[in-house]
């Protein structure tokens, strides 16, 4: 568990990396009503689409230099020599990023959806959706960033964004499910199922990819 503590320490001191995406999310949520004529009903129409896309974008920003710094300063090499498991490190890294970025964003998305819809039950249902989806997005973008390590994060986002599209579709569907009050739990379980697959495979794939990069 020492590795978790150390990763925590590193991320905590890198304020820009975790606070930046949260603030960008915040600004995007503020920017949305400004683009719509100020009527509560009109706001609700596109609100959730903007919410999911804002989560997606802020997760993309959060992962921007998740491996870059460790790659540039040689930390990754040290870890590889120590033969401690690479994929554990990756999953710990993702976990810490999620705690620092994903959870605040989920709380914010709860607050914003409550503010927009004034429907507490609905907003409470949004919270688990955004918590799970932010973790999934984080994993996907981590993979993209590992692939395009030291080639700029845009390329990584470009190649992994298609992977996130199915999740966006599920999120869109689940909003309809909530509004028609059908089968909400089914969507949560579907997302959890995706997450459980991704949580296992992404660290493995990423560790192979990083080893290829170090070569």
């Amino acid at each position: 568990m020492k590795i978790i503590r150390l990763e925590f320490l590193k991320l905590k001191k890198k304020t820009r990396t975790w606070l930046g995406p949260v603030l960008v999310f915040w600004l995007m949520m503020i920017a949305y009503p400004l683009t719509v004529e100020f009527l509560q009903e009109k706001l609700e129409v596109g609100f959730f689409s903007v919410l999911w896309i804002a989560i997606l974008i802020s997760m993309m920003l959060a992962t921007e230099d998740i491996f870059l710094e460790d790659f540039n300063d040689g930390t990754l090499e040290q870890i590889m020599i120590k033969t401690s498991s690479f994929s554990t490190l990756v999953s710990v890294k993702i976990l810490t990023y999620w705690i620092f970025v994903g959870i605040p964003i989920s709380i914010l998305s709860f607050i914003f959806s409550f503010g927009t819809t004034e429907d507490l039950a609905l907003s409470l249902m949004i919270f688990p959706l955004s918590i799970i989806s932010s973790y999934i997005f984080l994993n996907l973008f981590v993979m993209g960033n590992a692939l395009s390590l030291n080639k700029g994060s845009v390329l990584g986002a470009l190649v992994t964004m298609p992977l996130a599209l199915p999740v966006l579709i599920v999120l869109g569907k689940s909003i309809i499910a909530i509004q028609l009050s059908i089968n909400y739990l089914g969507f949560i379980f579907l997302l959890l199922g995706c997450l459980s697959i991704i949580i296992v495979t992404v660290p493995l794939v990423v560790s192979y990819i990083i080893k290829a990069h170090l070569e």
Binding site: K151, L155, L158, V159, L163, I169, V205, A212, H213, E215
Partner: protein, 243 residues
């Protein structure tokens, strides 16, 4: 034993000489098949009752969209072969196929759009198939730009193969999810999926055009892999003899 066999058989040298032997035959046969079935399809098949003459675009559109997906599958198979057995030729094939895949996907998209104007009255529909084809196109472009961003070819090959495999897992998922998404959004637009059962006089030229187009694309893949081999193996001694 098997590994040795694969490596010998799939050496760039043997491949190159084999390609040169067969290339001309494949090229002329497929040009012949393609031109004849296209003329047949465009000029000699009877008019479709529902869509009128614009249905003839099918002979240009279907081969392209069919092959654009097969090419991705071919890339995925080559990637696995490369990562498992370290066959260099497979890595060359992956990057050789990518631009051609992008081209066929582009043809499929454009021809589909143009076909949509007279039949649907719009050039774009957020239909499941079109959306997933568009995503496929973006993925092809992403793969190409990804490979180009590396200076160390071997590293690029390895990472590209990983990316292709990840994408290959994802393509059916995207397809399914997009299908699922569009069924709820729009119900009764004309989709390409529900084709009416087709008359033999329309079917034969379609099959012909698919085979002919496949042959032409195969020739392109051969050419572009030849190009890759020449670039990558130019320091080898046998290349001098070959040239």
């Amino acid at each position: 034993m098997i590994k040795k066999f694969i490596h010998q058989f799939a050496s760039p040298k043997t491949y190159l000489f084999q390609v040169n032997k067969f290339y001309n035959y494949i090229f002329f046969i497929s040009v012949f098949i393609y031109i004849s079935s296209i003329t047949w399809g465009l000029l000699f098949t009877p008019e479709d009752f529902v869509q009128g003459n614009s249905f003839r675009i099918i002979y240009l559109h279907v081969p392209a969209s069919f092959i654009s997906q097969s090419l991705y599958a071919a890339m995925a198979v080559s990637s696995i072969v490369y990562l498992v057995w370290r066959v260099k030729l497979a890595a060359y094939l992956v990057i050789a196929i990518a631009p051609i895949g992008a081209m066929t996907t582009f043809i499929a998209l454009i021809s589909g759009s143009i076909w949509g104007i007279p039949t649907w009255g719009t050039w774009w529909q957020w239909d499941a198939r079109i959306t997933s084809t568009l995503i496929l196109f973006i993925m092809y472009l992403g793969l190409i730009s990804f490979h180009n961003s590396f200076s160390n070819y071997e590293k690029a090959d390895k990472l590209l193969s990983w990316l292709v495999i990840v994408g290959a897992v994802n393509i059916p998922i995207i397809k399914k999810s997009v299908d699922w998404w569009s069924t709820l959004h729009q119900s009764a637009s004309i989709t390409l999926t529900n084709k009416p059962s087709i008359d033999p006089s329309m079917l034969y030229p379609l099959i012909g055009s698919i085979i002919g187009f496949f042959g032409l694309i195969l020739c392109l893949v051969l050419l572009s892999s030849k190009n890759q081999i020449l670039i990558r193996e130019k320091t080898k001694s046998w290349i001098k003899d070959y040239v």
